[in-house]
Amino acid sequence: MTQTTYREALRQALIDGMQADSDIILLGEEVGLYGGAYGVTKGLIDMFGAHRVMDAPISEPAIIGAAIGAAMTGLRPVAELMYVDFIGMAMDQLANQAAKSRYMFGGQIGVPMVLRTQGGTGRSAAAQHSQSLEAWMLHVPGLRLVMPASVSDAYHLLRQALEQPDPVVFIEHKGLYTLKGDITAEPEAPWGAPLVRRAGDDLTIVTWSRMVHEALAAAAALADVGITAEVIDLRCLNPLDDAMIFASVARTGRAMIVTEAVVTGSVASDIAARIGERCFDWLEEPVLRIGGEDIPIPVSPALERGSIPSAGLIADAARWLVRREAPQWA
């Protein structure tokens, strides 16, 4: 119930989790003395010692691989990948090892680990430090995938991730660490369930992570012109109980999926395809994808901002969907 930050909520979830379960260890670059590149693990090495908060060499594949082995043998490791952009060198350990072990081994060997990482734009960190790569993970059976947008979700979803029997990829957003909010006593919604962040009747905006906040800002602006948008925060991308999305779209007849990622091949495409399949008879308008441009992220702050959806763009697109009011740029 305390007003806190996304960063602090994550830190608290780790602390509470580690106090409750002595098998939890943290393993990653700079998680110890440095306290995490974004400060999430600050002080934890002093609280839990260097055997539970392990500063690792800059060896992403082996960090994730070591976490897998620790998980297989009874620990519950939280491997930290400093930027989701670095997963490219460790995708084998994540997708071929962590995700598939239970299956390949006929159910004998689970890999209960959490891969904590962060992504997204907003810090002029350029093409190799600003990506949103959740689409790669969504395409891998055996992984769970979580992307909290709120302070309370940062806390509760991380606590819940720490109790899953299968590998969870937990992607924070670098632009949300200073977000302020409450940690609710109970999770805002169950694991795997999306959450209606704002109710509305005219269209459904499905989104997750930082884009939830852009969508909410757009919804507020839309309300001023008499359009009520329902904003659904996916929270968990896998497992995802998508029935609620379908119900919302069936009611509103209009859907827009908003992602910060490159739009082609994105999770937005997948959600749009599902809605297209399941809500066909209820749709009044095409399911729109609003996403990042199909380009690497440029370092220039202006170009970076311009390549990512904004509340303004979302509202423009919504006005067209609902009222056929063409935006100025169109």
């Binding site: 392990m54 060896s59 299956y103 390949m104 299968d166 029935a243």
Partner: protein, 341 residues
Amino acid sequence: MTERTNSGAVARYRMMRRIRTFEERVGELFLKGESAGSMLHLSIGEEGVVGLTDLMRAGDTFTTHHRGHGVFLGRGADPARMMAEIAGKETGYCRGKGGSMHIADRALGHLGANAIVGGGIPHVVGAGITARNRRQDHVSVAFFGDGAMSQGILYESMNMAALWHLPVLFCCINNQYGMGTRVDRSAGRVAFAERARAFGLAGETVDGADVESVYQAAHTLMASARSGQPGFLEISAFRFFGHARMDKSPYRTPEEEAEGRLRDPVARARATLDAEDQVSPADLDRIDAEAATEMDAALASAIAAPAPGMQTMFEDVYAPGTPAPFAQADRLRAILYEAAP
């Protein structure tokens, strides 16, 4: 068999013979068209690894590469369940989901065979962390081929093991080839143990044709690993046959093969037992015959075993009791019948 004989050496010989015979039956399984695919990598010529597996204890864990049948038998595997897995059957170690390249058995400490060269190596680092944190007296051993010496993840893993003083042993079974590439065509410098030492490990190379030498070298390295000084053991061997079942090894000469096959750990152990330990040929023949009987039975039972039911395909993706994959038929049904969402 008399009490005078070296019972350890006899047991190792028996194990090596069982491995050799098992692998021969795997070849038959393939020829009978009963194996799941042709990606079967026989460990014939590498049985000397028993000198190391024999030293591992209950609680010790390990991972193997794609050529891991012998290692797993050395750790006590049931050949019938192995063979069934290789045939892709429900009764196999992995319910017919893994096959030859993905056999595992948590109960025997086998954390999994891997079809990614080097893929299983870092897992022993994690197992070492578990042992350290829980103050367990367990060593975790990674088995891999000379090909994995070219995988960066090996060096990352060795560095971590050394840095954190983990009870871990890296075992490279150098059979001189990665597919068609001889080690001197894949390594700028072939002194592999030297690489390990440069990373702070105890590193040794031993002749895998002599299982007792392997045993000696492994004894020292396992003891030091158990006390927190990780090690690296290169077991030098020769891959008797092709890379997998379809490979006829056109990239090497018959002479090289003939010479390589002289480095036969099974034949050598038998000769030594005969000459030095005075185990009688009759006793050795009996061991060989028992292995043949056992492996014939394993082969037959695997062929007779049932294929997995279609519905099992959706099991084991996630843990029981958690949301399972949405089967395509169910998805299409949901679209097809257009129930209002």
